[in-house]
Each structure stands twice: as C-alpha cells, then as structure tokens.
C-alpha cells in the first residue's frame, strides 16, 4: 500500500488501473478530462495493459462501452454533465443489455445556463436508467468505490453497469491523501472478469439487445433489471465487508456520523457531506443532539435501512444539490417515500443548495438546523427552502443592473 496526494480525477484513474481494466472508450469533457489523460499516459508508458479509444461523442462512447462489455472485456469509462445527457439514450440502453462495466461521472450542473461547476442534476437524470449509483465524498472513496463497483457490476446475481459519482471541482481537482491498494491485492479482490454469456464467437449464434414485440416480454425484462438492481442491496454489504477486511476501510452504503443519540439529522450525498460533518461537530459543541446521514449507495435505494436509521428521530433536514423543476429536491422526495407510514417517522424539511458550485456555508447549516428544531417544536414542516443569501441577491441585482444598462445603451444607438 502506498499513500499519495491525488486529485479526485487521479483517484478515479487509479481505480480503473487497479481494477485491470481492458478497454476505455473516452471523450473529453470538463471536469472529467484528467481521468482519461492519466489513463492514456499509463497506456503509453506500458503501466497499463489496456486500450483507450477516443470517440466523437459520449453517445458513441457509451455505445462502445456497452458493446465491448457485451463482447467479453472489462470496460471503464468516464463522463460528466452535458456528456452524460448527450449519451443518455445509451445509458438506458446498455443498462438493459445487462453489461457489467463501471463509469465515473464527475458531477457538474446542467445547461441552461451553461456552467462548469458542480451539482447533482446530471447524475439524478440517470436515476431511473438501471445503472447502480455509488456517490463519493472523498478522494479515497473514489478509488475504493471503483474496485467495489466492479465486484458489484460483475456479480452473478446483478450484472448491470455501475456509475461512481464524484463532485466536479470539489473532488475532481482537489488533492487529498489516498491510500492506494497494492496492485496484486486489488487485482485479487476484483478478480478476473467472467463474461458468462456475453461473448461473440465465430460460428456461434448469439443475439444480444434484440427487439421484443408486445408488453409482456418487455415488462419481464424491465422487471428483471429492477430486481437485479435491488439484489445489489444485500450483495453490496458482502462486498463492502470483504473490502474492509482486506484493506481496512469500510464504505457502508449509508454512513452515519454522530447518529447514536441524534435527535436531528442532516441527510446528504457527495462531498458536501463533509461540510455537514463540520457543522455537526460545531452544533454538538453547542449541545445540540445532531447527526449526519451520508448516503453512499443511491441506486439501489436502501429504503429499509433508512427507515431503521431514521425512525424515532425528531427531525431530518434533507439537503439536495439538485432541483426537480416544479417539484423540488429529488433526495427529499425519496426520503419522504421511504419514511411515509413508518412508526415514529421524523419531521422532514427540504433544502436545496449548492447548485452550480455554490457553497453551503457553516452558517447555513446552523440556520437549517435551528429552523428544523423550531419546526419540530411546532410540529409543522417548514416549506421547502432554496438557499440564497441576501448578499448574493444584492450581487445578482448589480449584474442585472449592468445588463439592463447595456441593453438600454444598445437600444439608444
């Protein structure tokens, strides 16, 4: 084992390298590009025995990832944001092919307006595709999650692709110390890729991804995909246990922080959950019984575990870094679904923030918690809140004033 200071992107590339990936269909997009640059470099220097092919689009790239995995090799690919959406037809398609491969998504806000910085609307768009989703909060989790993801994807009872998600900029370009597993140990943990029935051979009749006629066979295959995804709930624990035993790091599907006696709980996914940890520490010092529930496995959704962990708490603040237009936070909806009808269900409050790279300040965490406590006292859920400070609004008004002045000037000439 060696300890290196790595960006999230490098940590992702190391995951693919340690998993002994055979094939990497690639396409550059900010903030993901460094991943494929690292991999291309290692292939050039013979540090990796793999083939990297740059496609002309993510749509083609994901098609090739699926077709190569369908032909019997271990595949890794990576994308982000607009790229994920450009390839979305194939995200749904290759999940249905039941091809086990791993894709990293470096989360970035979606157009419009176009931006480079992070939030989770891109990855939420892949929510219903059939890909499993593991969300990372640290660079260490990225490398480790990729190894776990291959085990999960290739498991006999699952056989579906997995997305490992990391936040653009906050993780992709941030250096953190990462313990890199010994190459042989990592290879032994991931194991050889067994293509099972996924392999074309001369003279062997084999059709894949064929059409069906009618709703009955269609429903059958769609249900199968759903059941395979759900199967990952029990399999994930086994794999995470084995990983912890070998490498000494436990990556549970849900991480609880200060949860033992917590009456009030923050719920988050991704790197901003580390900010929530800090807030929990501060609030604990002030004597508040606050905890954090950080969700690592988002698909399949660990509904039962969430019920067990949250029933009996007084209040839960779900912080979404995504926004479903006309509805609100996606995570909030899913937690409400999980907790509906549960005995001693906590009061739920919904917060949306951290869009397009906007920070969530410690002050805001304190404010959310104090609002949640107050709501629990009155017994009434607060209306969903969109985090935005008075200062930001003032600055925005200045930009709008400039835009208006420019517009007036053009009209006058």
């Amino acid at each position: 084992m060696s300890r290196k200071l790595l960006t999230g992107n490098s940590a992702a590339a190391w995951g693919a390298r340690l998993a002994k990936t055979d094939y990497i269909p690639a396409f550059p997009i900010t903030p993901q590009t460094e991943i494929i640059e690292d991999l291309a470099h290692w292939i050039d220097t013979d540090d990796m025995d793999a083939r990297l092919v740059t496609f002309e689009s993510e749509h083609s790239m994901i098609t090739a990832a699926g077709s190569a995995a369908s032909s019997g090799v271990r595949v890794f690919t990576a994308t982000s944001s607009q790229g994920l959406l450009y390839g979305m037809e194939m995200i749904y398609t290759v999940a249905g092919w039941r091809t086990p491969f791993v894709m990293v998504n470096v989360s970035r806000g979606l157009a419009s307006p176009i931006t480079l910085e992070s939030d989770h609307n891109d990855i939420m768009a892949a929510r219903d595709s059939g890909f499993l989703q593991i969300h990372c909060a640290t660079c260490q989790e990225i490398t480790d999650s990729i190894l776990i993801a291959y085990r999960l994807a290739e498991h006999k009872e699952i056989r579906v692709p997995v997305i490992v998600n990391l936040d653009g900029f906050y993780l992709s370009f941030t250096r953190e110390p990462v313990d890199l597993a010994d190459a042989d140990k990592a290879a032994a943990f991931v194991g050889e890729f067994d293509p099972e029935n996924l392999q074309f051979k001369g003279n062997t009749p084999l059709s894949q991804a064929m059409a069906v006629l009618g709703g009955s066979p269609y429903s059958y295959f769609r249900y199968e995909l759903h059941l395979a995804a759900q199967q990952a709930l029990s399999v994930y624990d086994e794999i995470a246990d084995e990983f912890a035993e070998i490498f000494g790091r436990r990556h549970s599907m849900i991480d609880g922080y200060q949860m033992d006696d917590a009456e009030y709980v923050f719920v988050m996914i991704g790197s901003f959950s580390t900010k929530a940890r800090d807030a929990v520490d501060s609030l604990r010092q002030a004597g508040w019984k606050v905890g954090l529930l950080h969700l690592r496995l988002f698909r399949p959704f660990p509904q039962q575990k969430i019920r067990t962990l949250l029933s009996g708490r007084r209040g839960v603040a779900v912080i979404d870094q995504n926004i479903s237009m006309g509805m609100g936070g996606v995570l909030h909806c899913e937690f409400a679904t999980a907790l509906y009808g549960v005995n001693n269900a906590p009061l739920l409050a919904s917060y949306i923030g951290g869009l397009g790279g906007r920070d969530i300040s410690q002050q805001e965490f304190f404010e959310m918690m104090s609002e949640l406590r107050h709501a629990c006292e009155t017994g009434e859920s607060p209306p969903p809140r969109l985090l935005y400070s008075q200062h930001e609004l003032t600055e925005m008004r200045k930009l709008q004033a400039i835009a208006a002045a420019e517009h007036a000037e053009i009209k006058a000439t």
Binding site: E56, S67, S207, M210
Partner: protein, 307 residues
C-alpha cells in the same frame, strides 16, 4: 493489392448455392434491402457479428428468434459504428490476450438504413472511418424513413412523393451524395451495390474481404411499400435503376472512383420512374415533361463526367 486477388464470381453459377440467412423474417415481400443482405451474408459466411441501428432490419431479430447463424447486436439509431468499434476492439483484445482463438475471430458488419447512414449516424460513421475501424458497413438505402412509413430523408430523390412530401411535386430536395462523403474520408473501400446485380455485388464483397479497415457499401434498396409498386417488380426496378444510370455502380480503388458497370446505352429515366407510385405525379393526370426532363438532365450530366 486486392485488385490482383482472384475473382471467383464470373457467372451466376459461381454464386453460393446455400443460403445462410433464415427465412420467415418480418421484412416486406420484395424488400430490396433483405435481398442485398442475403447475397452479402452468403458470401461473408457465419463468422460475422451484425451490429444494427434502428430501422426496418431491427425487426430481423425479435426475441427469441434470429435468422443469423453468427452474432447480432442492436444498438440505437445513431451509434451502430461505435457499437462495432466496441465489438472489434474487444475481440482484438481477447485475441491478443489469447482468450479467444483465431478460428473464433469474426467480421464486424454494421447494417443500417439510409435514415441512420445519411443523417443521425453520419457523425459516428465519419469517426469510425477516422479511426480506420476494421469493419464492413452495409447501408440499405430505400430512400426514406421506411420503418416509420416512408417519410423523406436525406437519401430521398428529387420529386419522390413520401408521406411527408405528398404535394403535387413531391420532395423538393435532392438525394445526398453519401458515396462521395464517405469516399472523402479515404477509407479502405467504398462501393455502391444493388441486389438486382448480384455478380457485381459479389465481386465487390469478395474484394473487400481481402482488405482491412473501413469497407463501406451503399445498396440501393427498392422498397415496394415505400416506393409504391408491386413486390414482384423489385428486381426489374433494381435493374432499371442501373440501366437508366440513376444508380451508378462504382467503387473506390486506391482513392480513385471506378465505375464497375457503365450503361453504354442508357435507358430513359422514365422507364424507371413510371413503375413507381411515388413518381406517379410525373405521369398522371398529365405528363410533367419538364419534371421528367429535369431528372433526365441530372442523370445525363452525371454520366458526361464519367470516363
């Protein structure tokens, strides 16, 4: 080079007598695309993986049936060549790592209609040629989005009536020259073919089998349902497409375009047009002399430049 390799197909008797593609597919009677696929498959053989884009032929393999004796992979409308790249690369990796024996190697063959080839899939096809992907591409060109009821596409010829150009003058645009677009990429091989001229087609397929790299075929595919004619006329219409000069049979050899069957005494285009309902407005209720002459002129102009 390839042109020196012996040609086995001189006469119709030289054509394979066993037919590989299974029967009972849901293609229409008289489908010119299926006819081309039949001939091609007989020559290429069973060591093939067909990678398909959305179109009529997607219905060849419907769970749990397939007419193929080798592989089949349906992708999506835009990305069949990228799917072929993934299969080819995976097979090459497995061969190199000795996880697949040489006897189990395959030709990877993309099969798409003109909707994918001329439009949505053009970017993926261009990129596959940039990378000199070692594969065969068969475009069955029935000059419209046939599977959805023959709306016009970039492959639709001038004046053809389609379900989105029902007006009295038919489609106002002109058929895109995909052959030249493909040839400009300078891939290993580009050719036009038609099932009604099986010998010409067989020679071309035999030739491309001895090559590596991107080998690109466009087959004009007479389409009874889309072009509105009796299915029994498919072969005759195909032959007339060649004899009138409307569908030039050609190939690229070392980057140069060579015509493989030059109709010395070209028949009048109207012989081809009048058999098809999609051009009926050129003849009924009144003969549209200028419309027919315009089509004839374009064909004549093309051949004037052919030496």
């Amino acid at each position: 080079m390839t042109s020196q390799s012996p040609i086995h197909f001189h006469r119709m008797e030289d054509m394979p007598s066993t037919h590989l593609l299974g029967t009972g597919t849901p293609m229409c009677a008289g489908c010119g695309g299926l006819e081309a696929l039949h001939t091609m498959y007989d020559i290429l053989g069973e060591k093939t993986v067909f990678v398909n884009a959305a179109g009529c032929m997607t219905l060849l393999s419907v769970y749990p049936f397939t007419p193929f004796r080798g592989g089949w992979l349906y992708t999506a409308m835009a990305s069949a060549p990228a799917g072929a790249q993934g299969v080819r690369d995976a097979v090459d990796i497995l061969l190199k790592k000795k996880k697949l024996s040489k006897e189990d190697d395959m030709e990877v063959v993309v099969v798409t209609g003109d909707g994918a080839a001329y439009g949505m899939g053009l970017s993926a096809t261009s990129a596959a040629m940039d990378r000199n992907l070692n594969y065969i591409y068969l475009c069955y060109d029935n000059e419209g989005y046939g599977n959805t009821g023959q709306q016009y596409s970039a492959a639709t010829p001038h004046a053809a009536t389609t379900s989105t150009s029902k007006g009295s003058h038919g489609y106002p645009g002109f058929k895109k020259d995909l052959f030249s677009i493909w040839a400009a990429h300078n891939p290993a091989y580009v050719a036009t073919i038609i099932a009604a001229e099986p010998l010409d087609m067989a020679k071309k397929i035999e030739k491309l089998q001895s090559m590596k790299g991107s080998r690109m075929l466009i087959s004009l595919a007479p389409c009874p349902t889309g072009w509105d004619y009796d299915p029994q006329l498919s072969v005759e219409i195909g032959r007339l497409a060649v004899q009138t000069g409307i569908w030039p049979l050609k190939e690229t050899i070392d980057g140069k375009v060579v015509h493989t069957k030059i109709p010395r005494q070209r028949k009048a285009v109207e012989e081809y047009l009048e058999l098809q309902g999609r051009f009926r407005h050129l003849f009924h209720p009144r003969r549209d002399e200028s419309g027919i002459a315009e089509i004839q002129l374009r064909v004549d102009t093309y051949w004037e430049n052919v030496t």
